[in-house]
Symmetry: C2
Subunit: 142 residues, 2 copies
DNA sequence: AGTAATAATTGGAATAATTCCAATTCGCAA
DNA sequence: TTGCGAATTGGAATTATTCCAATTATTACT
């Protein structure tokens, strides 16, 4: 796979939003793509620092926020904890494993989101749906 | 409706968990039942103080946590904001209205949760599911 | 190229929500 | 009625995030 491909996608998305492509934004995004384990901002910060040692935590927050605005990344909140970041753009749910604390992406079969939308009463217009499972993943998984 | 009914339920749930029924716990619970608008801990604190002026915020947090443990209340988290509390025990989703900031309960037709569980791959055992819609409620609703 | 205008980054301070902790107080049981 | 564990309390501490003012980078224009 061409490493420039995603960088391209990023630049384009930023451009169409009137934003600039910067080293910080590129590295933050590439870090998210590299290891899709739903890291927190702090975790992203730690990983990015090995490539960009002078980046600040505030910038990491800014970049993540920007990526969310561009719809390249989803911000995910489980219970009280810190926000986690997910670069998976396919329609998917999250499975939160209570024993390991890990979060798994669960791809959704086509139609699931539509059929959920249909249970809404008149007058409710949903722009997005989030589905979160909580339980145990008995199986060894990444 | 008998006002003692819910208090009864509370005492029983607490008892079976080896916990005590206290005035603080009872009032916090009754406040949640009285106005089901998904208040934050701070909001609960404010409401409870009119009945129990000397209660502390820490106790409100403790009571809410206890009620969640007893499965009498659900803790709900939208994006970054503070945790909100919901005494609705029926299977329901949440609709978060982005224009008003309000949260509506959406009752789920029977079978929805089961059919969602069925999309999980082998090895994933879900104990609970949360469904959150985000959008606009065009209609005037409580 | 030179420069103004604008956008992005930075570090640190500030805020918000929640948890922790040690000291009291309460309620039940012997 | 005394004692023990549970619950409450107030305040300090912690965590996650946002804010802000100063600097730095990038772009557009001449």
């Amino acid at each position: 796979m061409a490493p420039s491909e995603n960088t391209e996608a990023l630049s384009q998305r930023l451009a169409t939003s009137g934003l600039r492509s910067t080293p910080q934004r590129e590295v933050v995004y590439s870090i998210l793509l590299k290891k899709r384990d739903h890291p927190t901002a702090d975790e992203v910060y730690a990983r990015v620092r090995s490539e960009l040692p002078t980046i600040s935590l505030a910038t990491v927050y800014n970049c993540l926020e920007t990526l969310v605005q561009c719809d390249l990344v989803r911000a995910v909140n489980f219970e009280r904890g810190p926000t986690r970041y997910c670069p998976n753009l396919r329609p998917h749910a999250h499975f939160h494993d209570e024993s390991t604390g890990r979060t798994h992406d669960i791809d959704l079969p086509p139609g699931v989101l539509d059929s959920l939308t249909r249970i809404l009463p008149e007058g409710f217009d949903a722009k997005s749906i989030e589905i979160t499972f909580r339980g145990q993943a008995t199986d060894g998984r990444s």
